[in-house]
Symmetry: C2
Subunit: 356 residues, 2 copies
């Protein structure tokens, strides 16, 4: 592989001149520029970006630390980040780890690789590697611990001016940039939407996790929405489940067995809603004639059921875009600290009936 030195020798100039040409920086006469460019082409010269990084102290690479790329929402976020990044000549280096220890290890590796900024998306991080992934109570309990132990690293990064953007969180020690979706507001919106269509008997398929994280927010949002719209919450119209189609299906069947005066159901996400829709159809119920369903996420699942699901659409692309630009802004030291809250939207499908 040709080096800058060889290119320089090949056309009788100094390495510095070659450097000026390839970086388009400083003064170079048109004649030498042409000469150098010809040599670059002839020798098939590739600038060694590692060597450049060593001296410039920047890599044009940002680290993304996350858990499950399998989850379409996260992969959409990452997709947005990479798309924004490529626009300004940045690349992303991706690390997926599922438990606290390996996440911290990954974070350190990324930092040691001299990334210019770090975006963390630790949703679904697990306490330990050996936890049953289907034990959701336990399996989401790692996030807090991660942030706690990450705090020291974040402090250090702060000092060395490496911005850290946390997606899906806020108010953490030593982290100053946040992007998150207002899930609670989304849940409120879902209930309001149903109430607005004349529904009073509103059911809820919620995740088993009800206290923390995204599921906690949606859980609280449901109650808030019910109160706001003056609807009564009946325990018989609620059922818990996991984040799978199968679980949503089973929970909906249980719910339909015990519910009373229930005309609509808010599902904590589209996956659950898809399962719920299947259960309803399987019992010969028509959607939305016999039962209205509203989901949450605006994921591709909401399109996969018939009729298309009305859902509270979160904006993964927007989250990724904002996260990346926040990181870039912080690099330029434009801001000291910032928090960006993305508001969801109602994405109307055909799964909610107007019964007014």
């Amino acid at each position: 592989m040709a080096t800058i030195e060889e290119v320089a020798r090949h056309c009788g100039v100094s390495p510095m001149t070659v450097s000026r040409v390839i970086n388009n920086k400083g003064y170079v006469s048109p004649k030498t520029r042409k000469l150098v460019m010809a040599a670059v082409k002839e020798l098939n010269y590739r600038p060694n970006l590692i060597a450049r990084s060593l001296v410039t102290n920047k890599t044009s690479t940002i680290g993304v630390l996350m858990t499950r790329l399998e989850n379409p929402i996260y992969s959409l976020i990452v997709s947005a980040i990479t798309q924004e990044a490529v626009k300004i000549g940045y690349d992303i280096i991706l690390s997926t780890s599922s438990d606290v220890n390996s996440s911290l290890k990954s974070a350190n590796t990324l930092i040691n690789k001299q990334i210019d900024a770090l975006i963390v998306l630790p949703m679904e991080i697990r306490e330990t590697a050996d936890v049953d992934p289907d034990d959701f109570e336990k399996s989401t309990r790692g996030i807090g611990e991660f942030y706690q132990r990450f705090s020291d690293i974040a402090k250090e990064l702060r000092q060395s001016n490496l911005p850290v953007v946390a997606i899906g969180a806020s108010g953490l020690d030593n982290i100053f940039y946040f992007v998150y979706e207002d899930y609670e507001a989304g849940a409120v919106m879902a209930v309001e939407y149903l109430a607005d269509k004349g529904h009073k008997g509103i059911g809820f398929l919620h995740h088993v996790v009800t206290q923390t994280g995204i599921w906690g927010e949606r859980y609280r949002g449901f109650f808030k929405g019910m109160e706001k719209t003056g609807c009564t919450v009946y325990p018989e119209n609620m059922e818990k489940c996991l984040d799978t189609i199968e679980s949503g299906y089973e929970a909906m069947n249980k719910l339909l067995d015990k519910c009373r005066n229930m005309t609509a159901v808010y599902c904590a996400n589209d996956i659950i809603a898809a399962g719920a829709a299947s259960a309803a159809l399987g019992r010969g119920l028509k959607i939305p004639d016999d039962i209205s369903i509203i989901g949450h996420d605006g994921s591709i699942y909401s399109e996969a059921v018939h009729p298309r699901l009305t859902t509270v659409s979160i904006e993964p692309y927007e989250i990724g875009r904002q996260a990346f630009n926040l990181a870039m802004g912080a690099l330029k030291e434009e801001r000291e600290a910032e928090e960006i809250i993305i508001r969801p939207k109602i994405l109307e499908g055909k799964s909610v009936r107007n019964i007014k």
Copy 2:
């Protein structure tokens, strides 16, 4: 940020000794080791992996060049790659580009960043940036051009011992490692499965692209399967569509209007099948009692419809795993050239009726 030199000074040894400790390489007395480790902790030393790479000439980073991370199949492949990578201390640097020019540019950047290996996954690459993404005829026409123009780069990489693994392709100039799924065999399997259940009137919802790439393979596979099972192909039982739910829905409606003696439909992928299922349900048809449906991909879409779709399951995780390990094997120069073909499996749902 502390350097190795500072750590060395701090405990009165040479940088080499510190290097030996942090790399666990060569002889170091237990006493000095302890001393150094204490200094490392105290100064919060982080080895600069960029500097290390410059001298070792390896980065423990592999490049992944792809188009649309939004497509769950691709993101599952990437997920598998990262999971395999992290196991042996590698990271992946991800680049998503949608057209030929920017893909080549991204490839060059990755190479210049001194990646140890490159995995390319150029499915759905477009000829130019301004092509309408929904114009599938045009939008998939870029792959060939990409590989053609990539060939020079591949040759160069070959010389510098940087392995290139192409996913979803085979027999390309200057590329020696391939991992791909046998989609044609999958289509044959789908038809055979239906025939085995007693179906003779088998319909086909195929993609508008019928000559090249994955759609071409599935298209050919359908005919091969029909011939193999002795079923007759009726043009009235075929309809073309795009890779969207909506398009699958519309195509299925057209198909149901014109078909004759059709008891089952093979859909070129699960997205189309999900749309088709919705259309069938929307017409009051029962699945699988009135019409059997089989999809292709084994994607999460196949779970999102009721009843759960029987589908030809491709193995994205396996593809990613094999691709990464192929790259690693090539790095160790264990092999000269290799081609790994992944065979799909039938994933049984409840969307196909046994009419024997």
